[in-house]
Symmetry: C2
Subunit: 323 residues, 2 copies
């Protein structure tokens, strides 16, 4: 993979993605809460991608990448490696286009995710739970089958698809936004959000938020050099444990306003707050921006802020506040 | 109270209510799930009043009744008796109109509800947890202060307000509905829904759903005579334990298509299904219609069905599937 060489997706790519995926994804609602607004002294608008198909925004990038494939390439199928929402997203998009999909999953992937992928008709290849094993297995399948790799966050078409979340948020927000906060894992959503927000005049500030226990983006943002994740990663945010791609990192450096971090305790508190006040089921990864506000990592007072709730695929038997 | 003598609210009353309360309540979104549709062989559209202000549809009826009061009456304040969402709703609407509110609450009311009412500035009068004690205390306050009683479900203005849920559901549903399912407690929501749906040609079928353990509406619907609740009521649906009002009962008898019941086990299963598939936090009371579908109490196959998710005020430390 030499994704660093890829050009940044442009606003036109995001708009093309939006038109391409519109029949297959949901235009998710935006929720707000007077209680949360009062607590943070801000106007907060939550873009609810937990209500998206397969329960997460990942449906957007996968549909865009897979629907954009030329017919010849599509017939050979697609492959990806993911233990989580991107696996479900690729399986759904491939099933919709009626092409074969192979998902390389770590043996440790949660059972509901594996079942969901299998139910969508994708082939599952199990590997050891390391990035190296996942990438090697995916590369071998690409070499053997001619399938196209749909990378979870480094692919420009995936980034363009994820950017449609911000296009909708900016268009549908009841008030003009001063800033958008979103979680950072591999950086696909952050990169897409940056491209959407930077195209406006004046640009809306984009702030990435990540667990302090998986802070490669924050470290890289400050020093200007792509950082590895420090292993092992001890966070409940299973969607945010990967390091950024070179492309996502470059887009972040060019356009993001800041990257802030939150503690595990604040992430649990924020997650519960979203359940209580917004009545939304979310996974821990999407609680990070609100957790950063709780800890004052970014001062929202007086601002109108969009926050992306990225997904709702959480184990209801293991909610983190369970006694 | 001689509510039996009150005329039925008309569609015009619901539309007047809608205009009156529009600045103060949310037009809640409608969610759907391909997974649920496939499971039930139907198109299901969920009207998400769990996202309503104070976390439940009750905000609508309370705002309508309190905003409709003449100035002289309003100055003397309002009183109600409720342990739950209606208490919060009356407190919020009174605070918005800047008039005094007294809420008669049973000593057993959940602490979060009492705190919420107090935070909204209402006066709380605690009584023994019986309907007789609650009604006597409310009547005494009315007599002493000249305050207006805003009954939780027998008041025509409250019924008209609750009917705005169905007005929105019918207007916003992506497909024309064959039926609307809603829970039945005191019957205010069911009555309002009946009036909205019966005004259409052909009328949309309205089906009430209640816990088998609190089945006064179902018994009354079949025999034609208002039934008392059989005490003690052993259901997790704390919002559905009251018996119906004579007015709600008469409207149900005139317009509802059926009243079905669901077991406690199915209610828990349905509640979890809504958390998992719709990513919505709901209280047990609103899981009853889906629970009735699970048990086949009403056959939805082939139909397009609106289901009202009435509220999301649930104790997250005591979710009923907790091991």
């Amino acid at each position: 993979m030499t994704m660093a060489a890829a050009p940044f997706p442009a606003l036109a790519d995001l708009k093309a993605a939006q038109a391409r995926i519109a029949p297959h994804v949901r235009r998710t609602p935006i929720l707000a809460s007077e209680t949360l607004d009062a607590r943070f002294g801000a106007r907060l608008f939550f873009k609810c991608e937990n209500f998206q198909r397969i329960g997460a925004f990942k449906a957007r990038g996968a549909f865009n990448a897979i629907l954009a494939l030329a017919g010849d390439a599509a017939r050979c199928g697609v492959v990806t490696h993911s233990s989580g929402n991107h696996a479900l997203a690729v399986a759904l998009a491939a099933a919709t286009r009626q092409i074969p999909a192979t998902i390389v999953m770590p043996k440790t992937a949660p059972e509901p995710k594996r079942l969901g992928v299998a139910r969508l008709g994708a082939r599952i290849v199990e590997v050891e739970p390391t990035l190296a094993a996942r990438e090697a297995a995916a590369a071998a399948i690409v070499a053997a089958s001619g399938a196209t790799l749909v990378h979870p966050f480094a692919d420009p078409a995936v980034i363009a698809g994820q950017g449609t979340v911000a296009l909708e948020l900016l268009a549908d927000s009841p008030l003009p936004l001063d800033a958008i906060l979103c979680p950072v894992g591999g950086g696909g959503l952050l990169a897409g959000t940056c491209i959407a927000a930077a195209a406006l005049a004046p640009p809306v500030r984009v702030i990435g938020a990540e667990p302090a226990a998986a802070d490669d983006a924050a470290r890289g943002f400050r020093c200007g050099i792509l950082q590895p994740q420090v292993l092992p990663v001890a966070t409940i945010c299973d969607g945010l444990t990967t390091a950024m791609s070179p492309l996502g990192f470059a887009i972040m450096r060019a356009h993001a306003h800041d990257v802030v971090t939150a503690s595990e305790a604040a992430i649990v508190e924020a997650m519960r707050l979203v359940f209580e006040e917004l009545k939304c089921v979310i996974e821990p990864s999407c609680a990070v921006p609100l957790a950063a506000l709780i800890e004052g990592a970014w001062d929202a007072r007086g601002a109108t802020v969009g926050i992306i709730l990225t997904g709702g695929n959480v184990d209801l038997d293991r909610l983190p506040w369970r006694r």
